[in-house]
């Protein structure tokens, strides 16, 4: 009897080891320890044995039963460790399931990056309407009465107003600067705010020129500020936008609404300032005109130029985005061409 038990144990162990998955193991468990198992038969036949034999066979049978339980547990752990949720083959190189892939326009992306940067310096965000009067687009900004920019060759005047003057002559705004006086009239000084937007010029278009393009203008009006703060501000902003220090230089420039005016050039990021086609081989890109707000503009905003001063910075968004991505045709921005726009995830 004891030999038979030993035989059952041995065969049982072999069966357990041969189990290939948990279902097979469960079947084996039933086969080895279930009611119809050889082990149960041995246990059932115990009654016919003499007491000594009964005791030793009984102990042995229980031992085998426990050994099976142990061995099955062991095997089960082994199988769990090796198991996969997926039955059968799976190709891990197949692409993942696509998430919805919309995108903001690259100009908007740049604009929001700048908004975040300026917000962190306490600037408010303001927007002027697209249509303005000559009064706000030119007169308030110290443009001479016969300044060429006022001509219909340069500015899009609205039908029926083109031969009027001042408040009554309306146009698609040719620059954002008119908005600065609107803000100051509404909020007074001190003020620091940005006013991004689209501007319009009557131009012949090509890869570098557009009739509708985007600007981003900032103005600070305060007491006791010096223009050299403008340069620090720009360095801070560019560093935030491009994620690294960008060298800038400040040089003489001229605009009717500033005195003195200056140009801020940014080191060409394509060539690192060594000179390339994009920067006309001089290592610098002209991105930001700016300057100290002209006394006549402060007067137009009902502010006393002896008390207040400040400075403008105007960023050409199209040029900056072109620089950021290496885009070579400004007209793509208004193309609505998804083959282009889908690239800016």
């Amino acid at each position: 009897m004891l030999e038979k038990l030993e035989q059952i144990r041995k065969e049982g162990f072999e069966r357990i080891s041969s189990a290939s998955d948990r279902d097979a193991l469960e079947a084996i468990r039933k086969e080895l320890t279930g009611k119809k198992s050889s082990l149960q038969e041995v246990l059932k036949s115990l009654g016919g044995l003499d007491p000594d034999m009964r005791k030793s066979v009984g102990m042995k049978a229980n031992e085998v039963k426990n050994l099976f339980a142990e061995k099955i547990k062991e095997k089960e752990e082994e199988l769990v460790a090796k198991a996969s949720v997926v039955e059968g083959e799976i190709d891990l190189t197949l692409p993942g399931i696509e998430v919805s892939k919309g995108a903001l326009h690259p100009i908007t992306q740049m604009c929001y990056d700048l908004n975040d940067a300026f917000r962190s310096l306490g600037f408010e965000i303001y927007s002027e309407d697209d249509i303005s009067s000559e009064k706000f687009a030119f007169d308030n900004l110290n443009f001479a009465a016969d300044h060429p920019a006022r001509a219909s060759m340069d500015t899009y005047w609205l039908e029926g107003t083109e031969n009027k003057r001042g408040n009554e002559r309306l146009c698609l705004r040719p620059h954002l600067t008119g908005g600065s006086v609107r803000y100051l009239l509404e909020h007074g000084a001190p003020a620091r705010f940005v006013y991004p937007g689209r501007v319009y010029r009557n131009e012949t278009t090509d890869a570098r020129h557009e009739r509708a393009f985007f600007q981003y203008e900032a103005l600070i009006v305060d007491k006791n500020v010096s223009f050299s703060s403008g340069r620090v501000m720009i360095e801070t902003i560019l560093e935030k936008v491009f994620g690294r220090k960008v060298n800038v230089r400040m040089r003489e420039g001229f605009f009717p609404f500033t005195e003195p005016g200056y140009e801020i050039d940014m080191e060409c990021l394509l060539c690192g300032g060594k000179g390339c086609k994009a920067c006309n081989h001089n290592g610098w890109i002209e991105v930001m005109p700016g300057g100290v707000i002209h006394p006549n503009v402060l007067r137009a905003a009902n502010l006393d130029p002896d008390e207040w001063t400040g400075f403008y910075t105007n960023i050409g968004l199209d040029r900056l985005v072109m620089m950021r991505y290496g885009v070579d045709d400004v007209r793509l921005f208004h193309s609505a061409d998804l083959r282009f726009l889908k690239q800016f995830k």
Binding site: G102, Y112, L121, D129, S152, R251
Partner: protein, 806 residues
């Protein structure tokens, strides 16, 4: 404008160790942007002086000669040449291998190589003037003539670069004319020399300023002193048309003009030198021997050189003799004032015309001549002195036999010096640092100001050449000081950031949230289109244009209407993209316009009405699905963007929408936009063939953003909810809304699952599947309670919606 460094040498000796890159840099930083640097000697590499030692006949060609030439190298070279004027012992122009020349003066440059010509070895090429860029300076008399320096009497050495011999070893700084608009004084090399002298602290060389004295007067009458504050006329006899000397032709070429003849070249040279436009009239053409500066009469004409007429109006200033206009003042000459081959006596005009009149007239005739370019920026009357003095010096040099017969200086209005006071305190504050008094005075004096300092105030008298509008207020003086010190030398001063108030702009943030919601959560791509839209798409969308705003001079005739909806732009974008994509979602957020009255800033200013719209389309194949997709976008919008929920109702069909499938979007009771399928007509008229589209358009100004996130926390259920699915059979006319409203109050949650029409469903009916959750607030539902509740729900559905269970 081109600035020639050789030309500048007439006026200033710059420090010897300065490179031209440094000069360009300093001008860019302090005065005016140099866009380009051109080294004129570059194209003359390997083009040198050679001496012809021997001329032999070519064995195989009568028209060619074999020359033995010394080009300054170790051995003599053999060059085959067909020149008509080859002379032994003469110095000529030789292009060595590697040089680039222009064949017969035409086409692209060609590289010179050692070669064989009709069997004879030829080292390089003996060149004619037009082949080596010298056609203007040494014009050849016949096509086969080569440049013969010995014959031209030019001193040079064998092996010397020809650029040097011809004075073309110059550096040209190209300056963008636009950047000179506010600095009329810089239109001329003297002006640039003044700037450089001030930058590098070196003196200017003396230059002529003296007007002729003691001569008889020539009659000149100025009727419009406001338009012409000064007119000088100099009568010069015994002159004739001839070539200018080589040095002058070289400088004119380097300055960017072409030499013509000495009479014209002198006026152009003066223009380049001091920026004073001049005009030479043939004296015999001036009828009545008198010049009158007046406004044109109505209907008067100016006869041009090409016999065409220019129709004048009484706003046009003209220079006339006693009979008729001879030229359009300061802009363009007529036939009468031209210098001809027969001319022997001239009237030389050096006048000043004020800028506004010149600007009006140039834009009227669309004539931007070199003279007009200078006058329209405003030049000081004193500049005429420099023009006349230099012209007379040149006439005496080039025409030693000429006679100055008469001179008139009609000078009704003088440019006054601008006088400006500026305080030390103002400078200290605005410059952000204290600059010594001596340094400020030094800078201003170097720029031509007269300065005195008293009690903290600088009393500044600006030079006349800066007093025509450029310098007029103390800020201008501040600018001059700042730029001459150099903006890059000022200490960087960081901005102060104050924490007085937080920037909290919910309105401004709303459009950003809307855009980000559409892009990042709904998978839409943002586009930008122009505010002027092709009328084709406006008509396709059936948009009423009665209230539209139009451009006076649109980019194209069909682009005259400014948009009042963003839908037409969407149609155009679908039209463009459908050939590349089967399915896509796009949106745009910007302003649209229509007639009306709106005062954004002042009562005096009235603008058309502006609306800020956000508009999107989902394009693809399955129209109902596209519609529900767009509806889902609008339903999800308030939650993400934090404003009051939106509702839908059919009130007012948008013009672009499908007959059946559209809804207005409401905020409270106000209609703030619409959603719907784009109508078949709109798709067809836009040329859209492959896709259908659903659109939404919302006026963002009608959305009321919450001041902050306001989602309220809801207690989690203490007792489990029971989920039950129901499949109902209802009439086609029963809407989801009716089903929802009828049992809403009985359930904790209610969700639409799907709608089904098919074989098992009788005609006129549809199956609606829904999923709901029920539960007790104070206990777990027992199965009896569940059964009772469900029976109740089914009963209500049967009563209110005639629904049967499937």
């Amino acid at each position: 404008m081109n600035i020639s460094l050789k030309f500048l040498e007439r006026y200033v000796d710059l420090p010897k160790d300065l490179t031209y890159e440094q000069i360009a840099y300093d001008l860019t930083m302090r005065t005016v942007e140099v866009e380009n640097i051109i080294n004129t000697a570059d194209k003359f590499h390997d083009i040198v002086v050679g001496e012809i030692k021997e001329i032999k006949a070519h064995p195989n060609a009568d028209a060619l000669k074999v020359c033995i030439v010394d080009v300054g190298e170790d051995e003599l070279k053999q060059i085959v040449c067909g020149g008509s004027n080859l002379t032994e012992g003469h110095k000529v122009c030789v292009s060595k291998p590697g040089a680039e020349v222009v064949w017969h003066g035409e086409g692209e440059p060609v590289l010179i190589k050692e070669s064989k010509l009709r069997g004879e070895k030829s080292y390089g090429m003996i060149c004619g003037a037009t082949e080596v860029y010298l056609g203007d300076i040494f014009p050849p008399s016949d096509e086969r003539e080569i440049v013969d320096f010995t014959e031209l009497g030019i001193d040079c050495e064998v092996g010397q670069c020809v650029a040097e011999v011809a004075g073309l070893d110059d550096v040209i700084l190209e300056v963008d004319n636009k950047s000179l608009s506010n600095r009329p004084d810089l239109w001329g090399h003297l002006g640039v020399a003044r700037e450089l002298a001030a930058i590098y602290k070196v003196p200017l060389k003396p230059y002529p300023t003296q007007l002729p004295q003691g001569l008889p007067e020539y009659p000149v009458e100025i009727q419009e002193p406001d338009r012409c504050p000064r007119f000088t006329a100099t009568i010069i006899d015994n002159v004739y048309v001839k070539e200018s000397p080589a040095w002058m032709k070289t400088l004119i070429t380097n300055g960017g003009m072409r030499p013509i003849n000495a009479l014209v070249d002198i006026t152009n040279f003066v223009l380049m030198a001091v920026g004073q436009p001049q005009h030479a009239y043939d004296s015999t053409h001036v009828e009545g021997d008198k010049i009158v500066v007046r406004l044109a009469h109505e209907g008067e004409k100016l006869v041009l050189l090409d016999e065409k007429d220019l129709d004048l109006t009484p706003d046009h200033l003209v220079i006339c003799d006693t009979v008729e206009p001879m030229n359009l003042a300061g802009i363009k000459g007529g036939k009468k004032d031209s210098v001809l081959d027969t001319t022997t006596s001239i009237v030389l005009e050096a006048a000043v015309f004020t800028a506004p009149g010149i600007r009006r007239t140039t834009s009227y005739f669309n004539e931007k001549t070199d003279a007009a370019l200078r006058y329209e920026k405003g030049i000081d009357t004193q500049r005429a002195d420099l023009g006349v003095a230099l012209a007379l010096e040149l006439f005496k040099e080039i025409y030693p036999e000429c006679q100055i017969k008469a001179f008139t200086d009609c000078y009704p209005v003088k440019t006054e010096n601008a006088v400006i006071d500026i305080t030390q305190a103002f400078l200290d504050e605005r410059l952000g640092e204290v600059i010594e008094q001596s340094e400020i005075e030094d800078i201003l004096v170097r720029l031509g100001y007269e300065v005195s300092f008293d009690n903290g105030v600088y009393h500044c008298i600006a030079p006349t050449w800066r007093s025509t509008g450029d310098v007029s207020i103390h800020d201008d003086i501040l600018g001059d000081i700042a730029r001459l010190i150099g903006y890059e030398y000022f200490k960087k001063q960081p901005l102060k950031v104050s924490f007085e108030h937080s920037v909290n702009q919910v309105k401004a943030d709303l459009t950003r949230k809307l855009r980000e919601f559409l892009a990042f959560r709904c998978g839409f791509n943002e586009i930008f289109t122009y505010p002027w839209i092709d009328e084709k798409y406006i008509h396709a969308a059936k948009i009423d244009t009665a209230n539209s705003i139009r451009l006076a001079t649109p980019p194209a005739p069909e682009l005259g209407i400014l948009r009042s909806s963003l839908i037409p732009g969407m149609l155009e974008a679908i039209d463009k993209n459908e050939r590349y994509f089967d399915e896509f979602c796009i949106f745009e957020n910007t302003q649209v316009f229509e007639k009306g009255e709106y005062h954004p800033s002042t009562e005096e200013e009235t603008l058309p009405v502006h609306k800020n719209l956000i508009t999107g389309v989902a394009a693809g194949k399955n129209a109902p699905e596209l519609f529900y997709r767009v509806k889902g976008v609008i339903e999800g919008m308030p939650g993400y963007c934090h404003f009051e929920p939106l509702t839908f109702k059919q009130k007012d069909k948008p013009s672009w929408a499908d007959e059946k499938v559209w809804l207005n979007v409401l905020s409270g009771k106000k209609v703030i936009g619409s959603i719907g399928l784009i109508s078949v007509a709109a798709l067809t008229e836009s040329g859209i063939k492959n896709v259908k589209a659903a659109a939404f358009e919302i006026n963002t100004e009608m959305l009321v953003p919450f001041p902050s996130r306001t989602n309220e926390y809801q207690q989690l259920p203490t007792y489990p909810l029971v989920e039950q699915d129901l499949s109902l059979l209802v009439d086609e006319s029963v809407t989801w809304e009716q089903i929802k409203e009828s049992i809403k109050y009985m359930v904790k949650e209610l969700k639409f699952v799907e709608e089904y029409r098919g074989k098992q469903i009788p005609a006129g009916k549809k199956s609606v599947m829904l999923s709901l959750k029920i539960g007790n607030d104070d206990s777990t539902m027992t199965s009896k309670q569940i059964e009772k509740k469900m029976n109740g729900i089914i009963k209500v559905l049967a009563n209110k919606c005639k629904a049967e269970l499937r």
